[in-house]
């Protein structure tokens, strides 16, 4: 069992959870992920490690509610336990001193890019951070990211904060003005794809972190296969980071949709049944009522 030591709602449907997992915290490297299972009937879901605290023995994950499992996860609170957490999985990021590294994060991809940016900076690189969100209300991890970079940029789709436009557009603008040796782009698949399209004419190596459907996360099932440079790779053991300019994003996006119908059904059932938070509070009310009634009966008899 793995205890949740902290849960925070950062913005609408974006949560940060800190988990007690000392062995994983001791070994975790930037770029790696965990696979967790919330309860006995739960599925195994992969989530990138957003941070780790070796001294405290905890790891943090940043996630967006996209389906039943993440909704369920968001309904848990500090003190609750997850039945299974496995990791650290996947290959760590290759952190080297290359000069200037541009770390671009979109949405909850910020979680994954945070320890990477930090590690590049610690390795003596000049780090430029670009963060992109749909709107200013959805901005997360700004202080954390500012703390690990030399130059900070932010953009929003609606222009409510910073540069108006997508991450790829802002990256393009920076590449035209500045000299960058390596780009890291982590976020929604479409964002990673457009950043790669942007960096290709600049001939700058661009590393992305892919998030296909996974089961075991150890190379056993092949559910997470992706095509990179025309070769099939298992994202969980060969990745999750790949040279983005070689990635077949069409295939990735198609494979991410395999269980759309089932995911919808699960979510509807969860909401309809009011499992999770609502169910819990109802149970608590009932328990108290029952207890009170029991005491009444005792008094009467």
């Amino acid at each position: 069992m793995f205890k949740i030591v902290k849960k925070e709602e950062l913005t609408a449907d974006v949560y940060l959870i800190e988990l007690e997992a000392p062995d994983i915290a001791r070994k975790a490297q930037p770029g790696q992920f965990i696979v967790l299972r919330i309860g006995e009937r739960g599925e195994r879901i992969p989530l990138t490690i957003a941070d780790f605290d070796r001294a405290k023995g905890t790891i943090s994950i940043l996630f967006l509610v996209v389906g039943k499992s993440t909704r369920w996860l968001s309904d848990l609170r500090a003190g609750d336990h997850l039945v299974d957490v496995s990791g650290p999985l996947g290959k760590p990021s290759e952190i080297e001193r290359v000069g200037t590294v541009l770390c671009a994060g979109g949405g909850v991809g910020i979680g994954a890019i945070h320890p990477i940016a930090r590690a590049f900076r610690e390795a003596g690189n000049r780090v430029i951070v670009v963060m992109g969100f749909r709107s200013k209300d959805l901005i997360v991890f700004e202080d954390e990211m500012r703390a690990v970079c030399d130059e900070f940029h932010i953009c929003t789709d609606d222009g409510s904060r910073g540069f108006k436009g997508f991450v790829a557009q802002l990256v393009d603008k920076i590449l035209k003005e500045d000299e960058v040796d390596l780009v890291y782009a982590i976020g929604p698949t479409m964002m990673m794809r457009t950043v790669c399209d942007t960096t290709r004419p600049h001939r700058i190596k661009t590393v992305v972190s892919l998030n296909p459907v996974m089961v075991d996360g150890t190379g056993m099932c092949g559910s997470c296969r992706v095509s990179v440079g025309g070769k099939t790779k298992f994202c969980c053991v060969d990745g999750p980071e790949f040279d983005g300019q070689q990635v077949d994003f069409d295939l990735l996006m198609a494979r991410q949709k395999i269980y759309l119908e089932e995911e919808k059904l699960s979510m509807e059932r969860y909401e309809a049944k009011g499992e999770g938070r609502r169910a819990k509070s109802e149970r608590r009310v009932k328990d108290e009522k029952r207890k009170a009634e029991g005491e009444c009966r005792k008094v009467k008899s």
Binding site: K27, R41, E43, R44, S86, T218, G222, A254, S266
Partner: protein, 466 residues
């Protein structure tokens, strides 16, 4: 009288099975096991040969005549006690061992007609032991203060762990997934091996004193060197051959194309046949083609059928006689209505909007034997045809998972990535590191992995005494 008695001795007592029409609608166990009367009747056929040739066929050396004698005399508890001296997983082995190639192959009765149903009797004794009075706790041995790490909780790992705990070593069993059992829980389906039984037998190993740590992917969470640093004196690696092979034909990454490992893991370990009660989804229904001819392929085909497929094809590039699957499983599959497309080679998968919709195949004939000794399939020109399919399961085998070896410097591997280990002792090129099971031999059977585990346990015990 004499004649009919002889006939009775020659003919095996059949084990009842669920009717095909009923069993394809659920995941309940197909073979139902012997009743006590039938078990006694079957056990009475045993000739109690002095040299017990059957034992030669058992990789874990179960005293077969002894336990069969107990059953014959109605001493069912005695029977299971006798088996457990050598085999911790009798309810599992009684169900999934290919006895026809092992103990039963050497049975003298088989020379005339039917060999003794040793597997069925082992299963009976084990089930009896589980249902009835719990067996007396194994007596605790004197601790040796030696610590052993066993990596992988499949059949090899469970055997090593059990054997070493029995002689007093402190054993930790590390499992990468969230449930112990390896292929017994993720691979073999419920209708062939109920998971409740696996849990019971894994629990027995736990009772022997073995500590089981799940969610521990060795090579990631700890390396082999880190385990030594944590105070383990010897390490056994039994991680299986877990990486699925694909055919390398166009269209294999289309949605709806699974490896058998994924398909079976979803269905068995994650219980996706109970979706949405359980959260892990799997594609159900439609037309399913399973590619391959081994037990895993047959399992996947029968799972697909139970998930509600309209039609299930088993596509194999050699003939039925060449199929590596057990004859009994092939019979079960046929009874259940699986369509065998043998001498057929898939060449291309066709897709529509990202989903697989067809499998282009070519018929083959068998030519001269290849280096594996099996006859080589040669495509017949002009025999191309296409199957309409909604789901494809690729069950053509596995290869070694490099996850652990790649983080273990000095561990010698062969050219295919399997660990080089001594056949008799499991010794590897690394001091104190032993290995056995599929990660040494390539994909094989539950019982051969257990046999390797037994030998390695003996060698580890010797090593620790030094």
């Amino acid at each position: 009288m004499e004649k009919s008695k002889k006939a009775m001795v020659l003919k095996r007592v059949q084990m009842p099975e669920r009717a095909p029409g009923v069993r394809v609608t659920n995941f309940n166990e197909v073979a139902l096991g012997y009743s006590p009367e039938r078990a006694i009747q079957e056990a009475s056929r045993c000739l109690q040969c002095k040299d017990s040739p059957c034992r030669r066929g058992c990789p874990v050396e179960v005293d077969i005549p002894a336990f069969v004698k107990c059953i014959k005399e109605g001493d069912f508890t005695g029977a299971i006690r006798e088996i457990k001296k050598k085999n911790f997983l009798p309810a599992i082995c009684g169900r999934v061992c290919p006895q026809e190639n092992q103990c039963e192959r050497f049975c003298v009765l088989g020379k005339k007609r039917d060999p003794l149903t040793i597997g069925g009797l082992e299963r009976f004794a084990a089930d009896h032991g589980r249902d009835k009075n719990p067996l007396d706790e194994p007596s605790k041995p004197k601790p040796t203060v030696k610590r052993v790490a066993v990596v992988g909780s499949g059949p090899a790992g469970l055997t090593v762990a059990g054997d070493l705990a029995r002689v007093g070593h402190e054993v930790t069993l590390f499992e990468g997934l969230h449930k112990p059992g390896g292929v017994l829980v993720y691979g073999i389906p419920e209708f062939r091996l109920p998971k409740e039984i696996v849990e019971f037998e894994v629990d027995y190993v736990r009772q022997l004193g073995v500590e089981i740590k799940t969610n521990a992917v060795i090579g990631k969470l700890f390396t082999i060197d880190e385990l030594f640093k944590r105070g383990y004196h010897a390490i056994f690696i039994g991680v299986g051959a877990g990486l699925p092979l694909f055919m390398g034909i166009p269209g294999e990454n289309l949605d709806g194309v699974y490896s058998a490992n994924e398909f079976l893991t979803r269905a068995n370990l994650m219980k996706s046949y109970l979706f949405p009660e359980y959260d892990t989804p799997i594609k159900r229904g439609g037309r399913v083609a399973v590619v391959g001819g081994g037990n895993v392929a047959v399992d996947a085909a029968r799972v697909a059928l139970r998930l509600g497929a309209d039609e299930v094809y088993l596509v194999y590039r050699r003939g039925e006689a060449e199929m590596p699957a057990r004859a009994e499983e092939i019979r079960h599959a046929k009874e259940e209505g699986i369509i065998f497309e043998v001498l057929t080679l898939p060449v291309r998968l066709l897709g529509k909007n990202g989903w697989v919709c067809g499998m282009e195949c070519v018929r083959v004939e068998l030519g001269e034997p290849d280096e594996s000794g099996r006859r080589r399939p040669i495509p017949i020109k002009g025999s191309e045809f296409a199957l309409d399919v909604d789901v494809v399961v690729v069950a053509i085998g596995t290869r070694a998972n490099p996850l652990l070896p790649s983080t273990t410097p000095g561990l010698e591997l062969n050219e295919r990535g399997y660990i080089v280990a001594d056949e008799e002792t499991g010794r590897t090129s690394r001091e104190g590191v032993f290995a056995g099971g599929d990660i040494v031999t390539g994909a094989a059977t539950v019982i051969s992995a257990m046999g390797a585990g037994r030998k390695a346990a003996r060698a580890i015990d010797e090593y620790l005494k030094k």
